[in-house]
Symmetry: C2
Subunit: 140 residues, 2 copies
DNA sequence: TTAATTTTGATAATCATTATGAAAAAAATA
DNA sequence: TATTTTTTTCATAATGATTATCAAAATTAA
């Protein structure tokens, strides 16, 4: 059941990294949210729950979580990086619509687009490692 | 024939902005390149041709060029903004594949993806204002 | 324990971009 | 043309998110 935490601990071992309270607190925080949080927000949430973590540790740990695909880095054009958890039920492999008026983030997934992307890459002799697909929109 | 420059001058007038030598030099530089240049590169090109322009003026002018769609702002994940000229023959409305090994930027356009995007936005009650669609790839 | 290694966290550094403000240029007015 | 007003430019300072540094704390190994 705590399969995510187990996996994280295994990943840390693989890199000869220790499983510290701070690293685990950050992972667990990211398991609890389906929002697209920026670093400052994550720090605040941790602090509120009594898990004070330094900025440096947070940034370092987010890199690990990205590397092992627990979270995804997201840049929606406001100059700050956000993180999108892959750890919430059924939340994976989606793209984003960002409302330029409200700032709302709407998630979407389209299988046909996915396939077309793969075809395009393949046709050029490439394989896709990472995709960024964002629609900046306004209400009709 | 110098229809682009004329249009730029008209756009400036519309905003009560003057058509200065610096602004024109920047526009003309962007008419000459099909590369995806960052600010520092644009400054250097201008300097080499004897059109020395200050950083502040460059940044301000690029915002104007973006606003009037002479160029497009591009962020390919290296922390610096790049500009993609819309002023070179037939160069418009395309997306990018970025090779994570070589840094090469390959442009692509797919009509089906375009249509699917519009459908997705429409279905959610939005219209698309701007798109970011980038495939980060590696050679097969 | 003791010693060696890793991690943390306070703080400083970085660096692309933005703000500032005095001087230069351009436009408007006389 | 000379004078005044407005705009622009440019050198430089400030900003702010992120990254680097390094001494102290925690962890692990011996
Ligand atoms: Mn990083
Ligand atoms: Mn700007
Ligand atoms: Zn998301
Ligand atoms: Zn391009």
């Amino acid at each position: 059941m705590q399969t995510v935490i187990k996996k994280f601990k295994k990943n840390l071992q693989e890199e000869n990294l220790k499983s510290t309270p701070q690293r685990l607190a950050i992972l667990e925080e990211m398991m609890k949210t389906d929002e697209h949080l920026e670093c400052e927000e994550i720090l605040l949430k941790l602090k509120e729950k009594g898990n004070k973590v330094s900025r440096a540790t947070l940034y370092r740990t987010m890199d690990i979580l990205v590397k092992y695909k627990f979270v995804r880095k997201l840049e929606i054009g406001d100059g700050r990086v956000r993180y999108d958890s892959n750890l919430v039920h059924g939340k994976r492999n989606h793209d984003h619509m960002i409302c330029l008026d409200s700032g709302d983030i709407i998630e979407f997934y389209n299988d046909k687009i996915e396939k077309l992307q793969n075809e395009i890459a393949e046709k050029n002799g490439y394989k896709i490692i990472r995709r960024v697909h964002q629609l900046f929109v306004k209400k009709v």
